[in-house]
């Protein structure tokens, strides 16, 4: 039954268009790459701050307030373009373990972010500015986030080789 959903997705006008056009897939993929590099780059700025490696003179709250709107905008673009790419060969992609693993990693990234925002981030005002160091939970969240996103990039690139 699930396979029928993915087959139906392939049959949609947009799924078909992306699959059959010579230039649509590369173009949408390029926008996907542009979006994802901005997602990853902006998340890295925050993660490196949480790890106390970079932007140490800036307040964590200020940094996240400033950067996260851009991160979310880029993420939505990545999601839309990714969905269009997925629709073009949904059945095939769901059979590729690198794709499934990438989706799992995205969920893990979301969970990690959720735990951080509900946990350590709630007391951010107390450890926000130098010379205060982010608590261990925050540093862990930053380090885990960084690792997960690099793995997501690797898996995403790997899909293209399968």
């Amino acid at each position: 039954m699930i396979k029928q959903i993915f087959q139906a997705l392939e049959g949609t006008p947009w799924g078909t268009a992306v699959r059959e056009s010579t230039w649509l897939f590369p173009t949408i993929e390029s926008i996907h790459v542009l979006s994802l590099v901005l997602v990853v780059g902006s998340i890295m700025v925050v993660d490196l701050r949480l790890l106390n490696i970079a932007s140490r003179q800036r307040s964590v709250k200020e940094l996240t307030d400033e950067i996260l709107p851009w991160t979310w905008t880029a993420f939505v673009c990545a999601l839309i373009t990714g969905s269009l790419l997925f629709s073009s060969s949904a059945v095939r992609y769901t059979g590729i373990w690198q794709f499934k693993a990438k989706m799992c990693m995205l969920v893990l990234a979301a969970i990690n972010m959720g735990i951080f925002h509900l946990g350590a981030f709630r007391s951010v005002a107390q450890w926000d500015r130098a010379p205060s160091q982010p608590p261990l939970a925050a540093q862990l969240a930053g380090g885990i986030s960084l690792s997960i996103w690099v793995i997501i990039v690797a898996l995403g690139r790997w899909i293209g080789f399968v």
């Binding site: 590099v37 901005l38 990853v40 780059g41 890295m44 800036r58 690099v150 990039v153 690797a154 790997w158």
Partner: protein, 161 residues
């Protein structure tokens, strides 16, 4: 001439090692992409600040001091990872029009970044007092960097040697 060079390079043992080990090219490309993330995000922040759209809580000087070192260091990583990719598949890049378009755009981007950095450091408040130039440079820079990313991806789709 390029064709002979590519043939020679592809036959070297280093090139064959890179081609034979299935993990090298995808891994180096991943390093390349993560590096692009660092450079693109840094340049996007600087250019948007230059144009005056975002990040106004920090002065341009502070932002430049924060992000420009990351840009230059990561560009070295990009050059190294790119070189490994070229050695692995010389014809794919060196005999590709799309690759040379990307390199031309890269030269433009580097020149613009140098202009931005030089005036930022040597002429105090230059970008604050020359707003038209700032908006022009910021916009152009943004467009060119986006073009570099696009051209880079399209190498895979356009006819090459």
């Amino acid at each position: 001439m390029i064709r002979e060079f590519c043939t020679w390079l592809a036959a070297t043992s280093l090139s064959e090692h890179i081609q034979d080990a299935f993990w090298v090219i995808p891994t180096v490309q991943t390093v390349h992409i993560v590096s692009i993330a660092i450079v693109m995000t840094s340049m996007a922040m600087l250019d948007l600040r230059l144009i005056g759209i975002a990040g106004r809580r920090q002065s341009l000087q502070e932002m430049g001091a924060r992000f420009l070192p990351w840009v230059w260091i990561t560009l070295v990583v990009l050059a190294c990872s790119g070189t490994i990719l070229i050695i692995g598949e010389p014809g794919r890049e060196l005999q590709s029009d799309m690759f040379w378009i990307k390199m031309s755009l890269l030269v433009c981007a580097l020149v613009m970044t140098l202009i931005f950095q030089t005036l930022l450091r040597r002429r105090d408040g230059f970008w604050e007092t020359h707003r038209a130039a700032a908006v022009l440079l910021g916009s152009l820079s943004l467009l060119v960097w986006v073009g570099i990313v696009g051209a880079g991806r399209w190498i895979a789709y356009v006819e090459h040697g």
